[in-house]
Symmetry: C2
């Protein structure tokens, strides 16, 4: 933290430093950037939160330097200090574009104000200086009753935030100044219109008076005058309205509407500051992962008037089509209007092309400007402009939001145009948005209302009739040829058949990594999980949300990307992978340095993943094979065996089935590594859980039901997640792992003989102590002795890292292992001491109250779990430099987590097939970023 200290030392006495203020302020930005990098590099485990907290501290030092920047002083790189809007206004000034004069109050001033309740020292002097500067540049005076200067006041954080106060226009008007405006413009109607707009906006936004009251008065006036549009109202009407507005304000606030312009300005600035902490803003930040302490800047800009008649107007335009990405100017405008009219939707705006007809000069100037801006920013821009009596002004430019499709197309086009590099094209994609391209989605052009919202557990949309039992799902699909949605309190491995049959899954409990969520993501099937508002009554075959009762057979639609549950059938759209997508993915593959594998349990799943360019299987869960109908009975026989002989007989029958599974997988993954995890879950998961199933199994196995029940009770566990599973099973019942190893290597031998290139990796789950791995390896050695002459390929034996003790003793474990693979689902659960199945009862509360900055099941908890991972990599690589280290937990397809994996030096990430493109893109971005850093 050298720089921070330096700064603090230099400025520990504010009084004596005014002389060096100016000199340093311009360098400060760079210093802070360095500081941030220093902080980030210092502690790989820390989240961006911390960095911001620290730079927040720096902020309160910074405010002593300079609180206000003229548009002539800033630049686009100064977003942290000036906000996005302010930085871009300054940048446009630098480019010589027609930007109305003004200045920006810094985010530091905002933070200082929010912390202390006061303005920074010297703020008011600075404000006066800057007002004077604008007045002199504009040749007008703020609050002057002859030639008045009016201002717009806008908030502008580093990141655009719809939840905050937006804009107050026409600030500086009162009963006297409005006369000056008439003098100045000769347009009384415009002046009074502006005045009543100002009162309305200011009162609504700054004073908190319900804006419906003003709308109501305006409507009343239209009614009284018998007109339908405001344009038809007269100057007298507006005067009358202004009186009414003032009365409304007094009634609501018990104070007169402030008439003094400087007081208006100061109240507006405070209102912008305070809007940072209003509820909507806080919610928006939470939803969008924006830190709470970056603060907002305030832009004070001299007004230009789009409401001065038919040669005036206002509009919004994109340099390219934000929906398709097509390279075509795209926008809308309204004549004789101020900014909010375009948004308000009272009048229908015209297409931007129309401007060419109405004001060809303005249009061509606008074209010139948009080209200049796009070239300068090298990205698609979203521009706001106003025309005042034929004179064009640009009020804002920012990077234009776009659809996932458009993002791909714009980036590819810009690379082809030579505007940006391929790396930049990659960095501009939001990996999470790719997801929407890979799954069907609800056609949002029709409106609908959700009856409940759960966790968006597996993306994509699905629609079908509701069923409550796995068997019903299978029956309906097979016999009635209908699509079904399986609704359950929670799913268990027994529901696999039903989940396969269903279009989507809805559960009332369980989080983002509950059984339903994990399996659905693996299957690429939509899932809404943990929808706690619904009460599922499986036995009554219905679920209830408040007064709504949904019965078996009713149709619902799920949106697994948003968590919404909708009654009835909605129209879907399926997006195909376009050529631009292909191009971007090809570039990404070239640029990434980590491999991307897939978590897949069957040949077909492997095929899907391989089509998405997966470079191997990072996790094949053998237990999923155990649930298939033709073998679950054998599995149960194996578990319930009373003697080793019985157990071995059952295993012998399972062996060829497993071998066939592995052959499918090896074939699909010809030439690529395949990591197969030996049996992991506790045995009772395979046993029947309902009375009905119990009867069936008892009769199939010809054992008395009571005996079966008692055997199952014996297998019951208090905390199954921490129980007799993983290698603990493999060590106490070695025959199971022996069968699996024979199946894996047997399949590999046969595939190899058929000319398939096999790279099997045998993975031992839940190792916490090197001696466990040693014990299992000894068992593997013993059982493969006879096969050895036939094994003409290399195979690896390694372990999952999924309990903290494995991380802490990774040096010992690494000596026994060819590879380590982080099972971050279980590692997160054990590190936190939180069961994913039970977290529902408090996790939402924790996220709401920001007790957890993010759901650790969704993105790697870098401070806790991440520290263990880093420790593992360091200890493991030190002990065994050739060891291969990857991740196969759910986080392996989550972009932030992928970036963390790159940072700590993993060899690969692995995720569900439909996540593979997301992971590839994230891996490419991480690689580019780490190259840029070094």
């Amino acid at each position: 933290m050298g720089i921070l200290k330096q700064i603090k030392e230099k400025f520990h006495s504010r009084e004596t430093i005014s002389s060096v203020k100016r000199e340093l302020s311009s360098n400060l930005k760079d210093s802070l950037k360095d500081l941030k990098e220093e902080l980030e590099n210092n502690d790989c485990g820390c989240e961006s939160d911390d960095v911001v907290v620290d730079s927040g501290d720096v902020g309160s030092d910074r405010v002593s330097l300079k609180s206000i920047y003229s548009f002539h002083e800033g630049a686009k790189e100064m977003k942290d200090l000036l906000g996005g809007k302010g930085a871009n206004l300054a940048e446009m000034k630098r480019l010589g574009l027609p930007v109305p004069e003004g200045f920006t109050i810094t985010t530091d001033a905002c933070n200082f104000f929010l912390e202390t309740g006061n303005y920074p020292k010297g703020f008011h002097d600075e404000l006066a200086e800057h007002l004077a500067e604008v007045e002199s540049k504009m040749g007008k005076k703020f609050g002057d009753i002859e030639n008045p200067l009016l201002f717009s006041v806008r908030s502008g954080a580093k990141i655009s935030m719809p939840g905050m106060m937006d804009t107050v226009l026409n600030l500086g008007l009162n009963d006297a100044v409005v006369q000056g405006l008439i003098n100045q413009t000769g347009n009384a109607r415009c002046a009074y219109d502006s005045y009543r707009r100002f009162i309305q906006m200011f009162s609504d936004i700054v004073l908190g008076v319900d804006h419906a009251k003003f709308e109501h008065a305006l409507e009343g006036m239209r009614e009284v005058r018998g007109v339908t549009s405001d344009i038809e109202l007269t100057v007298e009407d507006f005067k009358e309205l202004i009186s009414q507005y003032k009365a409304i304000v007094f009634e609501a606030t018990r104070e007169q509407f402030p008439t003094e312009p400087i007081k208006q300005l100061s109240k507006a600035i405070e209102a912008v500051f305070n809007s940072w902490t209003n509820e909507r803003a806080i919610t928006y930040r939470k939803l969008n992962d924006i830190p709470d302490d970056i603060g907002t800047a305030v832009n004070v800009q001299s007004m230009v008037f789009g409401n001065k008649g038919e040669t005036s107007g206002t509009g919004v335009a994109f340099t390219r089509n934000p929906s398709t990405g097509e390279k075509k100017f795209y926008g809308e405008f309204l004549t004789n209007a101020q900014g909010e009219d375009v948004v308000a939707g009272i009048r229908t705006p015209q297409k931007i092309e129309k401007l060419q007809e109405i004001m060809p000069n303005v249009y061509s100037q606008l074209i010139e400007i948009k080209d200049k801006l796009e070239q300068h920013y090298t990205d698609m821009q979203d521009i706001e402009f106003t025309i005042e009596e034929g004179e064009l002004y640009v009020l804002q430019t920012r990077t234009g939001k776009r659809t996932a499709h458009a993002a791909l197309r714009v980036a590819v086009d810009m690379v082809e145009e030579g505007l940006i590099t391929k790396e930049e094209a990659i960095l501009r994609q939001d990996p999470n948005m790719l997801n929407t391209l890979l799954h069907p989605s609800i056609d949002k052009s029709h409106s609908y209302e959700a009856i409940a919202k759960g966790l968006p557990a597996s993306p994509g949309a699905a629609c079908g009739i509701v069923v409550f039992e796995s068997d019903d799902a299978v029956n309906k699909v097979e016999n009635e040829d209908t699509k079904v949605i399986l609704v359950r309190r929670e799913t268990s491995p027994e529901d696999i058949q039903g989940m396969h049959a269903a279009e989507g899954i809805l559960t009332s409990t369980g989080g983002m990594t509950s059984h339903a969520a994990v399996v659905c993501r693996g299957m690429g099937k939509p899932c809404v999980a943990g929808c706690s508002k619904i009460r599922v009554m499986e036995s009554d075959k219905k679920f209830v949300i408040g007064d709504i009762i949904v019965k078996e057979g009713d149709i619902i639609t799920l949106d697994g990307s948003t968590g919404e549950v909708i009654l009835g059938e909605l129209k879907m759209k399926k997006t195909e992978l376009s050529g631009h997508f292909r191009t971007i993915m090809d570039w990404a593959k070239d640029m990434k340095t980590m491999s991307v594998r897939t978590n897949a349990d069957t040949g077909p799943d492997c095929k899907i993943a391989r089509d998405f360019d997966a470079e191997g299987v990072g996790l094949c869960r053998t237990e999923h094979m155990f649930f298939e109908e033709d073998r679950i009975m054998k599995v149960r026989e194996m578990i319930l065996s009373k003697t080793d002989t019985q157990r071995e007989a059952a295993l012998k029958e399972l062996l060829p089935m497993q071998k066939a599974d592995f052959k499918d997988i090896f074939k699909a993954m010809d030439g690529l590594p395949v990591t197969v995890r030996l049996l992991d879950p506790p045995l009772h998961e395979f046993l029947p859980s309902t009375e009905e199933k119990l009867t069936e199994v008892a009769s199939n196995m010809t054992i008395p039901k009571n005996e079966l029940r008692s055997m199952i009770n014996q297998l019951h566990e208090v905390n199954p997640m921490l129980g007799h599973r993983g290698c603990r099973l493999g060590i106490t019942f070695p025959a199971i792992y022996q069968m699996q190893v024979l199946a894996i290597l047997g399949a590999a031998i046969e595939c190899h003989e058929e000319g398939i290139e096999v790279h099997p990796e045998i993975e031992v789950p839940l190792v916490g102590c090197h001696s466990e791995l040693k014990a299992v390896k000894a068992g593997i050695e013993a059982v493969t002795k006879d096969l050895r002459p036939m094994i003409k390929f290399d195979y690896k034996v390694g372990t999952m890292i999924e309990v903290p003790r494995a991380c802490l003793t990774a040096d010992e474990i690494a000596l026994e292992a060819d590879f380590l693979s982080f099972g971050t689902n279980d590692l997160t659960q054990t590190t936190f001491g939180i069961s994913r199945d039970d977290a529902g009862k408090f996790l939402n509360h924790y996220l709401d109250k920001k007790i957890f900055p993010a759901d650790p099941a969704a993105t790697i908890d870098q401070k806790g779990v991440g520290r263990l991972m880093q420790m593992t990599v360091e200890l493991g690589r030190k002990a065994n430099p050739n060891i291969e280290i990857g991740i196969c937990g759910e986080h392996g397809g989550e972009p932030k987590s992928v970036e963390f994996c790159q940072k700590i030096g993993l060899d690969y990430v692995s995720c569900s097939p439909y996540r593979v493109p997301v992971a590839i893109l994230a891996a490419a971005q991480s690689a580019i970023k780490s190259r840029n850093l070094s």
Copy 2:
């Protein structure tokens, strides 16, 4: 590892180093000691196992130097190399005591042999040299038919091990040599008796021939001769017996008994080596925590004969009474006998005092020797001696085993005698043995047979009639005034009443930290847990072990110190704390540097602990109070409240009850700190779990049973240990913690006003993230605002450290906490990912197969959990240097764990009341050791 490397480099070529061998061998011992210390200091987290593994490696280097040491070469410090017996024989030689000549084959030679199957290079030359040396000293020759030298061959590991081969006497005899022995001694009877003993012992121990066969032949001979004792048998009888013995050997081994003396010796040496790995030895090592790779030495000593008539004899003596500790010579001897006769119990030995009458000179020589040995070793000695025709020989000396009582008395006496320091007196106590002084125990003077053995989960013995339900336990005790043993599959918090009523608890599942075990240790009540051989059929009110059925009303006895279950009532003895115990504890208190607190939940428990010198409460579990009969219903109302108002009303009724509890505790702990943990367990633990209870609660609460059941089902958790508990409850239902904090501080205020000195410490459980602690603290702040003027004492707020994430982020947490307290029960479970309630299914297997070196629930896993603890202390102290750090998990009273806590610098340990003296002693020992190191 500097020294190891040095040694290796110096000796990388064995051929060229013979010249420096001798010079270095004497220094080597010291080097190895340094090496060990170096290794131990290098890695605080490593267990003694590792050190041994490493020094094992050193061993195979060492064997090239010198495999055999004459008794004139060794010393008592060389136990690692010469074993305990060999080192002490050499030491006695150095002291000038009458020790028959001989030599010791090193443990390294043994290890080399066991690893490679060969003797170390040059071994046979060395052996020949040493044989020649003894022959020359004794003036006899091994295998000589005129004047033969005979040997005894004995094993002797560093630690005495009953499981190993013990002794072969009279080695070197055959049909020819026996004549030489007659020549030499003129005692044919003694010679033939020695010969037949030799064949019998050698065949049994070395050749593995069932010794019953020889006994049978001997009995046959007695019968034929019509005599009752061997002494009555003649020379001819022995000759005849010898022929029979040889025949027995040939029949059993299909080989002739080896006649060549050198072959006998070599076979005997190999037999000693191999006995290291026999099953009994392995089991013994496992039970006594002795490393497998330290090997055994072999002592070859020239024979002296106690069977040469009435002026010969053999005996065993202790320098003080090993049972009481009294300073009085204590022992037994037999005339005309060899060593094994004393042990065999065929003839009744005489008291040592008798020797004074029979052979006064020998006796006074023996007294002189025992005084010399005790002074020299400064500890009570266990001496073996033989008298050959009036000549006294000492064959062995070792530290005498003693009872816990004797250990205390001997130590205190020796301090008073100026023989040892107080520190040594403390170091000599086995903290675990103190346990037996604190609980009643089975009177072992009567023999008995256990019907089953479970885990020794809570020490002490208890006896009573068997009951299977908590209510039955209460009823029987209250109404029938009888003592009961509660037997259950496993206990739950609902059984608390019954556990209180019962004398002891027996469970069939659950480990050393299962509910039953933890609660019983807290109550100081005997418990045998996880007794997996018994099948508990609670509904039939019986349990079954094989063919034995134990029904309600049958009487059983439990030994919670050994895990034994015995049918019927056994006699008990209760040991009082003697004055010596008090003295030792006073010394220990002075010497320890860590505080010792107690885990206690009630005033009476606190009183017990304080009588044992506890220095505060380290953990008061408020939930235990919730189960008391008068409040459990209120607790249930609180949990099942449908509205906040209902919940608050129930809490309001609980408040005065909790306050009263805390007042009792503060009064009992006047002047000492009291850490109170806020509610920790998941709420469903408080709800009824049986149909019967459910009915009762439903009727009490006047809610329909079905509704109650559904509410309870809602609270069900898949993994309750990782669920909605601890601060997660406190954060989501803040009213509960608010009530508790009001009760704690309210009680403290009232106590303070009554003149009690209070030091409350409020402990927040299950914190994994600093923001959780912050949130709870904010709640505490809010609720205590009104109390503040009345709080005229300091109180602390801190947290348990019981999930890995808390350790990894201890720097952040420490900034929010006044103290941290390791909850190592949960921390061990989460670090390993093992539930203590479910571990029973594999843990025994793991311990048997040495996959885990020890049960991590019993002693801190220093490599894994310990590393996290160390990290916590480092991060925590760095962030907050004044933070208080302790441990309140079950490990807080386990000596090895206490030592580890000292090592990493904890401020206190805390354990159940009856463990407090153990912890004080262990803490004193740790403090002394760490002082000695520095």
